[in-house]
Symmetry: C2
Subunit: 235 residues, 2 copies
DNA sequence: CCACTCTACCGTACTAAGTACGAGTCGGCT
DNA sequence: AGCCGACTCGTACTTAGTACGGTAGAGTGG
């Protein structure tokens, strides 16, 4: 044998460029995206990396650390938008909100993990810092910034949850043309839900995602008004 | 022996009143609340029920069904508020939003489960039906109802996520009086976040929960205005 | 050039958890 | 009495996390 060390070197140049924490976390994110968070196991991850399970433990403490890591990777993904410091605060908030939503859409499991993780990673903190910075530098008071960021974060996170859990009820495209009585949404039991589904969602051009911009605009308009009034008016 | 069947009948009246699906799910909810969703295993559940693991499988198909079941139980908990059909639509929405938030606060793991569950249970559907009913009967158009419910649900869900994942950064009450450089929030790196923490949160009387009513009021005010205008104005 | 050692990787094996399979148990009904 | 169906459980297989110790190869000082 000329270089008889690697068992089956399909490519002489190392097909395994060495394991690092970054490679482990990046691959973990890929596995979670591909097959859902439940499919991310130490063994599946190791297989994807081309190593044996116990090898990953030299780069992460345990699976919890991996979950913390990929959640922070998702937040890091949100930072890739240009800062656009020249735009108005509304434009800046909209840009960040869109980036956040898109990242959470690419990784629907991320919101589900947030609850279990106690300590946020650096990217997560930078994300919060940035939101607060935009509002503060726009002239919002400390209190108003707290209210605004809580409201905006809640909306963006909640929207992501809705999108992740989105279920399409009613008969929809399912080929049960003969009265599916076990249909998810029974018009008898849930008349308004059925009406909403029939007359609005389920329509050819309907896209739930458009509700994001609508809701965001409404919140921003109200925040703008509240900021000018110096408080949060009752109506 | 008088009734020599039960091996160790510490109490002659059956200490195990028979297993039912309701008892299984109710107990599962209790276990999840007590020790977190991760502590809910078939074995821990069986132990709590006073039976052997395999016994629960005669009342639920598998663990997935248990998770579906307790999520629906949480939604069922939200229905316990009086309907107050005589109040204004705003009052009705506020009442329901508060009930939703409180239920999600009692069961912080619920939001994390939503993502994985594809098919909503009956209580979940009733919950959505009720929200839509309130808005429709208040005179909202179908489109406007869709926008409003998406916005409201997003806010309430998102707020619940924030509360569940709430972390208290900065040095706070931790006794690291000698420059905790590994402190969760470093004022050098996150100046605005640190300012926000120091000057607003972390204050004696601060309660993040109050942001809920504030945000809800702001959204409702904006919805009210948008409904009167017949559309969603840009500001 | 040779130990010595540190780093990265891996083999083995233990534990916990989900659950398939089939057997035992018990109350009621024919 | 004998059968039946609903309920419970014992056993055991499988997957997953990971503790523990081994090993190989790259340095490093003598």
């Amino acid at each position: 044998m000329v270089h008889g060390v690697m068992p089956v070197p399909s490519d002489p140049t190392a097909p395994r460029p060495r394991l690092t924490r970054e490679r482990v976390l990046g691959c973990a994110l890929g596995v979670a995206d591909a097959g859902g968070i439940a499919s991310l196991t130490i063994r599946s991850l190791a297989a994807e990396l081309g190593v044996k399970p116990m090898s990953v433990y030299h780069h992460v403490a345990n699976k919890e650390a991996i979950l913390d890591g990929i959640v922070d990777l998702v937040f890091a993904e949100m930072e890739l938008v240009p800062h656009h410091a020249d735009g108005s605060w509304r434009d800046q908030v909209v840009l960040r909100a869109r980036a956040t939503r898109h990242a959470l859409r690419r990784h629907p499991w991320a919101m589900g993990l947030l609850e279990s993780r106690g300590t946020p990673g650096p990217a997560t903190l930078r994300h919060e810092e940035e939101t607060i910075r935009i509002l503060r530098e726009a002239g919002f008071s400390v209190e108003m910034t707290a209210h605004a960021s809580a409201l905006l974060d809640s909306f963006v996170c909640g929207f992501a949850v809705q999108e992740a859990a989105r279920h399409f009820g009613v008969t929809s495209t399912m080929p049960n043309d003969e009265r599916g009585d076990s249909s998810p949404v029974d018009p008898e039991t849930y008349p308004h839900l059925a009406e909403m589904a029939e007359k609005h969602m389920l329509r050819p051009g309907y896209d739930f995602g458009e509700e994001f911009q609508l809701g965001l605009d409404l919140i921003l308009g109200a925040l703008n008004r509240a900021a000018h009034a110096g408080h949060l008016p009752p109506s």
